[in-house]
Amino acid sequence: EAGVAQSPRYKIIEKRQSVAFWCNPISGHATLYWYQQILGQGPKLLIQFQNNGVVDDSQLPKDRFSAERLKGVDSTLKIQPAKLEDSAVYLCASSLDMRDEQYFGPGTRLTVT
C-alpha cells in the first residue's frame, strides 16, 4: 500500500514570496491533516479536512495560509506572503476516518530567507 506522498521535499524561497505544497493521502482515507513542525518543536496541527470539508482550522494563520481539498483526495497548502518564521517542515497526514490512526508523509522542508 502506498503511503502519504508530499511534494516538493525541499523548498527555499525569499520572504514575501508565495509557495505551495501538495499532499496525496493514502487511497480511501477520508481525513487529511496538515501540520507545521518548527525546528526543535513537535508538530502543530494547522488544518484538518474530512473529505473536502474543513473540520478544524483554528491554528491556521488565515491572513497568509490557505488550504484546499477540492475533490476530497489531494490537498494543497499555500503560504502567501511567506515570513521568516514560516521556515519549518510541513507534514501531511491522513487517516481512514477522524478517529483512526494517522499516517504521516515525509514532509516538505521550507526555508524562508
Binding site: 502543530k44 497526514a93 487517516s95 494517522q102 504521516f104
Partner: protein, 113 residues
C-alpha cells in the same frame, strides 16, 4: 488545554543499554496517549498508544510504555537499544482518540557504539 512535556531534549545511550524517555501530560480527564518516532527525512511513525485498560502497553520495535495516572506520566522504555533506534521521539496526547493530537517538543535519541 492539554499539553505535553518531554523534559529531555537529547539523550545518549550506549548500544545494548536500556532506555527510558520521559513524558508528562496535562489533561483533566483520562487522556489518549501516544509515542511516535521520526527518523531523519521521514514522517512520524506510531510506536504505541494508550486508550484504556492495561496501563503497560506494548508497541512495535520492542518498545513499551507505562501510563501512571498519579504521576501524569507515560514514559517510553526499551530493554536493549539498537543503533537503528537513533531518532527523535515524540509523545502526544489527545482528548478524542487519534484526532486532535498535541505533541511534545521531542527527545532526540543518540546511540553510541
Amino acid at each position: 488545554a492539554q499539553s505535553v512535556t518531554q523534559p529531555d531534549i537529547h539523550i545518549t545511550v550506549s548500544e545494548g543499554a536500556s532506555l527510558e524517555l520521559r513524558c508528562n501530560y496535562s489533561y483533566g480527564a483520562t487522556p489518549y496517549l501516544f509515542w511516535y518516532v521520526q527518523s531523519p527525512g521521514q514522517g512520524l511513525q506510531l510506536l504505541l498508544k494508550y486508550f484504556s485498560g492495561d496501563t503497560l502497553v506494548q508497541g512495535i520495535k520492542g518498545f513499551e510504555a507505562e501510563f501512571k495516572r498519579s504521576q501524569s506520566s507515560f514514559n517510553l522504555r526499551k530493554p536493549s537499544v539498537h543503533w537503528s533506534d537513533a531518532a527523535e521521539y515524540f509523545c502526544a496526547v489527545s482528548d478524542s482518540g487519534y484526532s486532535t493530537l498535541t505533541f511534545g517538543k521531542g527527545t532526540m535519541l543518540l546511540v553510541s557504539p
